[in-house]
């Protein structure tokens, strides 16, 4: 059970406090309710570029990192399709330093031209390092495009193309900041060796006078129910063939999410999972195979993704994958297997919660989903899932017309 207190400042900033006096440290986590899904389709990659700019100096403080490091702190941030999260950990004695830094960059950035110029280059190098200069680096670029026609999940967080990042202008940065980086669109979590009253006072002191800004009401184009399977074959300069198939799945808060999550465990969780045991070990069709999803807030993609043993055709590989998903559609899983995947889930949650940083991050995320208290009811929701639920949801998810199949083939091999 994760204990926390919650209050809201008059400008709309939600504050959660999770005291843990077993540690000498404090964590300050600020989650902004903006991600790549909120971008203009012609200016993709911007939410992530913007995350970099948040370290380029704020209105009263020329450098974010330096004072934090001097106070013994470290920090980082990440952007997903759904949200942007900033977190730092420092000795609890110096908690106020984090409030000072975080509140100033929520008040206003310095909007430095130099920072934009440099970070555009840095992000381009990041783009190259992870998505261009790596074998299979563009798989998700292609797959997202196949899977979504309307919804902005159709591009990756890094952006559709280098050019979008290169073209970013200072005015875009300002507009983005004042639209999304407002107290009413943010969640502050403070955890560790802290007191609720102390945090309340510090929050009022540092964040209380930041203008609330206009409420951001998200209105994104939604996908229509997919009626036709999407297929694609790509040839690339890679040494071995890859197979990747996705199906639309439920959003993060519905019952369907928990069922889909357990389905990925049945198929791809660990050495005893069905796909690994049957397709890698017994049939020797894949050298590795995974089944996963990204935990997207809005309806996401359940994914099966693997590399083929040389000599195996993509058609053979797909037929074998189909046989496994069809079995899930036709036969209930055993009580033992259901218990296994629930035990695994319980263990994953327990290990995750060891870290103060993870706890702060999870509280912010569940609050973003609607209620931080979900962190404490999550496990019960998994326990409610039955073998019949898995059968029923498998039948909804694994319909062929709900799928996207990509053969990513080696130019040399074919």
């Amino acid at each position: 059970m994760i204990q926390f207190e919650r209050f809201t400042l008059s400008n709309g900033l939600r504050v959660l406090v999770h005291p843990d006096h077993s540690t000498p440290m404090a964590v300050v986590n600020v989650m902004y309710n903006v991600g790549a899904r909120d971008e203009d389709p012609n200016k993709t990659g911007f939410a992530h570029l913007f995350e970099h700019l948040m370290f380029g100096g704020s209105i009263h403080i020329p450098d974010y990192d330096e004072p934090l490091q001097r106070a013994g702190g470290e920090n980082n941030a990440y952007t997903t399709n759904d949200l942007t999260n900033y977190y730092c950990q420092l000795p609890a004695d110096n908690l106020e330093t984090a409030f000072w830094l975080e509140s100033d960059r929520m008040l206003s950035l310095a909007f430095s031209k130099k920072s934009l110029d440099v970070q555009r280059k840095v992000v381009c190098e990041e783009f190259k390092e992870h998505y261009i200069n790596k074998p299979y680096g563009d798989v998700w670029h292609i797959m997202r495009n196949m899977a979504y026609e309307q919804h902005p999940y159709r591009w990756m967080t890094i952006g559709k193309e280098l050019k979008h990042v290169e073209d970013a202008q200072l005015q875009d940065v300002k507009d983005f900041f004042f639209k999304f980086y407002r107290p009413s669109n943010a969640i502050l979590v403070v955890a560790g060796r802290v007191e609720v009253e102390q945090v309340r006072n510090l929050a009022e002191k540092w964040f209380g006078d930041i203008p609330s800004g206009d409420f951001y009401a998200r209105q994104l184009p939604q996908e229509e129910r997919q009626l036709l399977a999407v297929r694609k074959i790509v040839e690339a300069n890679v040494p071995v063939d890859a197979f990747i198939k996705t199906w639309h799945m439920a959003d993060r808060v519905g019952e369907g999410y928990y069922v889909a999550d357990l389905i990925t465990e049945v198929l791809g969780g660990g050495g005893s999972s069905r796909l690994y045991q049957r397709l890698v070990k017994e049939q020797k069709l894949f050298t590795n195979i995974d089944c996963y999803h990204f935990g997207s807030v809005e309806p996401g993609l359940l994914t099966i993704d693997g590399k083929l043993v040389r000599g195996v055709s993509a058609e053979q590989a797909e037929a074998a994958v189909q046989k496994e998903v069809q079995q899930l559609m036709h036969e209930k899983i055993s009580d033992h297997e259901l218990q296994k995947v629930k035990n695994k889930t319980e263990s994953v949650i327990t290990f995750e919660d060891m870290s103060l940083m993870n706890r702060a991050n999870s509280l912010a995320f569940y609050e973003l989903l609607g209620d931080a208290q979900m962190m404490n009811t999550e496990l019960a929701r998994y326990h409610q899932v039955t073998a019949s639920d898995i059968l029923n949801h498998a039948n909804e998810i694994f319909r062929e017309e709900n799928s996207h199949t990509l053969y990513y083939l080696s130019k040399q091999a074919s």
């Binding site: 000795p91 040494p239 296994k340």
Partner: protein
Amino acid sequence: MIVRKNAPAIKAPVDVDIQLQPYVAFYLKNGIPVYLVEGGAQEVLQIECVFDAGNWFEEKNLVAATANFLMKNGTTQKSAFEINAAVDFYGAYLNRSCYNETATLTLHCLNKDVAHLLPLMEELLTSANFPEEELVIYKQNQLQRLEVNLKKCDFVANRLIDAYLYGKDHPYGKYSTPEDYTAITQNDLVEFYNKYYVNGHCKIFVSGKMQAGIQTLLDQHFGHLSIQPHSLARPEHKAAPAEQLHYEIVQDPNGVQGAIRMARPFHNRHHPDFIGAQILNNLFGGFFGSRLMSNIREDKGYTYGIYSYLQNHLGESAWIISTEAGRDVCKATIQEVHLEMKRLREELVDEEELDLVKNYMMGVLLGDVDGPFQVCARWKNYILHGVDERYFQKTIATIRTIDSKEIQRLANEYLHPEKFYELTVI
């Protein structure tokens, strides 16, 4: 009104009194030492068996790593699937890792399940049988994985730089080739396993929240094994560093980035300069606020990240700088690294910057010795390196007292480009 320009007062982390929670040691019936670090709020446990079974001890390349990996893929009583099913049922993780001197088998589980899982660990450590079928699959999959990895410039650069430093026949310098995989036989694995695991040398590290009786349980499962307590003497392997210092390799004509590695031989933890060099390294390229990062990423935008670090070897070691930079700025990146070395050699670092690094290091250390797994990991590193808590105290004392003159002395001693290998792989 608050004054936002002024930083709130801080308590300087260098003045904080940091304690490393001590371990509790005891010995199993067969003399095997067990180090316990208790703590944490979550009901979890980590049990790590560390064997002197790294690649230092193999006679044929990859045998140590393969034996370590396949130890979990079959025993005289269970198939690989049955082993995985047993571990997965409890939501546990049974991982193995192979390093240069040591190789480990590590269990992570909820502590209520430990009694169900220790018999399995015992079984792996006494009756793994390396089925031929498992070896065939392993080789096939590793060969394909290697093919994919060889397309990545960072992977290739990491292999080559170690080979330059130590020679490709040295345990720290050798790397996998398709021929090496093909040559591994079941018999190699069985022999290695019998010698270095079943009759090998072992230490056990346990951390997390413990239930009463954990000591009895460990003794019951590991106390009667024929493993030995003391460390195994390391056979000698002489490093054969490459004579040529500079390398440029273009393996992908269309590559848009180059993986740059610069490295020089350096001392291990026992050298009196080691801790000071760690502080200098932080300043130079060890964290986000370092000189290399500030200049090459945050000013020039040549790279997504650049870091330097000291390798954590028991024997000879190295100081390494590592980055992936835009293809057309690789040369400029190397020049800037040279320049940063020169600045450290020729100019005294100012007090404010040195203070920042000291406080940052102490803050990170404070966070690092928080939590049983992290504390245990630190002790394990100390014990394997043959140092004790005085090393921890000495680290703190050095951070507190080192001055800019000593930093400059160290830079003049070690940061000379002409002593560094330089490699770019595109």
